[in-house]
Amino acid sequence: MITSAFEYHRPSDLAGALSVLEEHGDDARVIAGGHSLIPMMKMRMADVPHLIDLQDIADLKGITIARGIVTIGAMTTQHELINNETLAAAAPIIHEAALQIADPQVRYMGTIGGNVANGDPANDMPGLMQCMDASFTLIGPDGTRSVKARDFYEAAYMTEREDGEILTHISFTAVESGFAYEKQKRKIGDYATAACAVLITKEGSKVASASVAMTNLSDVPVLSEAAGAALVGTSCDAIAVKAAVAAALEDIDPTEDNRGPVEFKMHVAGIIISRAIARAWSRA
């Protein structure tokens, strides 16, 4: 499989990357780990006359935690996320989710920035970022801006990011809640048939706050506020979980594909959501 021909750019800083983007407009795209983009280019579903490799840009790497805020550079790989002990303590849900992405080789290359910026509804990080209420930092010709993960996704592969912008960082508040990322997939390396991220905090024996977000069950990641609300104030008993699952299923719109018909996906989603709630509650 041979991609269309392209010019390869490898800038050493963000200014260099932005200037290539500005010069070539729609004809240019940035590449992070490349494990979504290169397969698309090989299938000729993506034609990229100017490919901008971000691997040499030091500003896009690294994980920092300061005053309870976690900031992750976009070029941080899934493998680095999994093996960073400080991050595992500050946001164990990321560790749990990253281990369920693709396979070992892909995780050495695949990055958190590529995963959230690509806009593929099958990617795991977008739903998780919505669950955590993370923010994305974008840099463009007019400077930087911050966009909430909850406002970022418009449709499949369509996001709030403008063509001339690069997603540089992801940031969120360290997680002290009970957590779970539950994913049903046909085999290692597959995308989710259904996946769900849940964060729950507890006060006494009741749910104080709950956040429920889902992956690959609509053309965008879906945060179900109604599902969260159905849990708050309850003791997360069977009736409350059933109500939350029913509310979450109201908010999704899966389509039939080779992972199954809509009815099957709704069934799998219901089970995955209830498992994720149960596990998050057990850790709250």
């Binding site: 390869y8 490349g34 490919l51 693709a102 070992p104 050495y108």
Partner: protein, 163 residues
């Protein structure tokens, strides 16, 4: 499009090749450097037969352009052992029948090599999770896992003896 000179260190030797940016690393390794150990299996990032080690990472070389490897250190199966001097992993794959047709073996061993660098004493479950990106259609994995565990034990024993 313009060809580019790509400099990389492959199995300890400095190499300089001329490649079009769209040339995948697997083809440069096989066709320009004559390293036919890494195989083209699925060519779609699934099977792992093309796995090589790049700067301490196990990478499917069908999903990387050669130009991206500029400046990198690459190890292929050819860099691990030779027919006269097999690597411990190769020896154990031979000993425990960790291969039948052998097509997946170079990728499998290259991946296992990296896995044991990061986790020298893995459990069976960790081996299975660690090689989940490599597909074998013959062995049913039992003997591959056995080979890797046995190689790990041998490497650890050698390390202890050396201390």
């Amino acid at each position: 499009m313009t060809n580019q000179i790509v400099k990389m260190t492959v199995n300890g030797e400095k190499k300089e090749i001329l490649a079009e940016p769209r040339e995948l690393l697997i083809y440069v390794l096989r066709e320009k450097l004559g390293l036919t150990g890494p195989h083209v299996g699925c060519e779609t990032s699934h099977c792992g037969a093309c796995t090589v080690e790049i700067d301490g990472k196990s990478v499917k070389s069908c999903t990387m352009f050669a130009v991206q490897a500029e400046g990198a250190e690459i190890t292929t199966i050819e860099g691990l052992g030779t027919p006269d001097n097999l690597h411990v992993l190769q020896e154990n794959f031979k000993e425990h029948h960790g291969l039948q047709c052998g097509y997946c073996t170079p990728g499998m061993i290259t991946r296992a090599h990296r896995l044991l660098q990061e986790n020298p004493n893995p459990t069976e479950e960790e081996v299975r999770f660690g090689i989940a990106g490599n597909i074998c259609r013959c062995t049913g994995y039992q003997n591959i896992v056995k080979s890797i565990l046995s190689a790990a034990a041998e490497l650890n024993a050698a390390k202890e003896a050396a201390q």
